[in-house]
């Protein structure tokens, strides 16, 4: 195993890129073979999915669904982030708040919050507010953990320095805490992004709704698996783009930590 490691250091870029592409080609070929072998209309071949995807992209209704999904997801994320950031900040700075809420949040972290969806629907109705609330609820927890850790990561000396220089608590928060918490915040966002997509999709499955999740469920109900898989691919592309966006933001905003890759 050691020689594998040593060899890998000499591996040339072309060889590496070739292997990576080969992996994708193998995966796609496997699917294509499976689709052809099953001979089942329900297992669409790659060209079928591709054609269906192109059709979908030209359909204005598809774009309405996409906009709805993005709107709900981003609104939920924003609300969850605002709550998590304020709760995380308070808990990290005040031991009474920390003692009160931190153990409770740790206990509730592994609970599948989706189980609370019926209550959320009962309170907010079946329309978009319940979906937004569910997304916010679900991404609150990882964001809280990161915000809390970020505010805690403030160097004690930095804080003393700020206090000696006569900085108010607002100035300390803006000039010191913000900079130490930012990398953590972005890590939290990176964890929360896939959660946002999952929850938005599931909530769109339920009830008569709109959004990409609804589009998948409807296509599948009409046995149009090619369309459903196209929408899945679009969701994957959105997730990929969101992840790249967070990484890019990190490089721009946390420029002093260039070497570290999350």
């Amino acid at each position: 195993m050691a020689e594998v490691r040593a060899l890998s250091l000499q591996g040339d870029g072309v060889h590496r890129a070739g292997l990576k592409v080969l992996g994708v080609v193998l995966a796609l070929t496997a699917w294509q073979l499976y689709a052809m072998a099953s001979g089942n209309r329900l297992v669409p071949s790659l060209p079928t999915i591709g054609n269906r995807l192109i059709e979908l992209l030209q359909d204005p209704e598809f774009w309405e669904h996409t906009a709805s999904t993005l709107r709900n997801g981003l609104m939920g994320l924003a609300i969850g982030l605002a709550l998590a950031a304020s709760a995380g900040y308070l808990a990290a700075r005040n031991w009474v708040v920390d003692a009160a809420i931190h153990p409770v949040i740790n206990l509730l972290y592994p609970v599948p919050k989706l189980a609370l969806y019926p209550i959320v629907i009962l309170v907010l109705g079946l329309d978009w507010p319940s979906r937004v609330a569910q997304v916010a609820l679900e991404c609150f927890f990882p964001l809280f953990v990161q915000c809390h850790a970020g505010v805690r990561a403030v160097g004690t000396r930095m804080e003393w320095l700020a206090r000696n220089a006569g900085a108010s608590s607002w100035e300390t928060a803006r000039e010191i805490v913000w900079h130490s918490a930012l990398p953590f915040l972005l890590t939290g966002l990176r964890v929360a992004m896939p959660i946002v997509l999952i929850v938005t999709t599931v909530t769109e499955f339920i009830g008569d709704s709109q959004g990409l999740g609804h589009l998948i469920a409807r296509s599948a109900a009409f046995f149009d698996t090619a369309a459903a898989l196209s929408v899945v691919a679009v969701l994957g592309a959105i997730g990929f783009a969101a992840d790249r966006l967070v990484v890019w933001l990190r490089q721009r905003l946390v420029f002093w930590e260039k070497g570290v890759v999350i």
């Binding site: 195993m1 080969l22 003692a99 809420i101 969806y117 339920i206 994957g236 990929f240």
Partner: protein
Amino acid sequence: MRQEMRPGTAPHRAVSPPLSPPAWQEFVRQRPWLVTLAFVLACLALWELAAARPGRPEYLLGPSQIFTELLALTQGGGLAAQVLASLRRALLGFAIGGGLGLLLGLLAGVSRNFRDLFDLTQAFTHPVPKIALFPVVAVVLGFTDISRVLIIAISAFFPAYLNAVNGALGVNPRLFWVARNVGASRWRSFWQVLLPASLPRAVVGLRISLMVSFVLMVATEVVGHSNGLGAALMRAYREGAYGPMYAGIVCTALCGMAANALLAQASRRLLAWQAHAGGHLG
């Protein structure tokens, strides 16, 4: 521990003359769980009061009502069957997906070729919300346990895989040299050197996988006709049977907490020989 968790107290004391806090305050500071308890009890009391209010919405049940409801349902045995059906799915999916993710991740960690082969495919498939595949899988395989476990396993795979890769990449190569020097076979190096050495990181991935499995357990049961906790609480919601609905929610929450606590305990055991045991979620 407590001391670390109160940054900013030291300069306060240095600047202002020692205003010794009242004895009770110091007493509580030494026992922060008292605050937790008080907070939880206050929340429960407020909830109970809100549920006892005359103009309350029909769906608002107090904690005491939920508790009696839960007791009544556990005696019937129906709830136990739902819990078992759900747990079987979640744990089976976790075992398959998490186990495969761990093994392939370790392999990818030591073999650059293997890692490269998976790299792009993984980068494209990882961001797809796997639950979105469920309706498609259900069309082909039906709304059966097979499709549910499959979706849970695919979802549980990725966190386990990614963390195992990172864990294996972080293993000190000297450990392998030592293993080679004493003539250990590749097979033995894998099981006796690589696996234990990358376990701390890998276990963090497994814990995330377990949480994901429970989320997907509920998600796959909510959609389509099924048995299990998710289906039971959705049905109860549709029928307006709010007691059973809350009972289902409480059971789901307890299952998630129990599974997480068990895995945390197991990882503490497994990693007892390592200083930085445990690791945090996130």
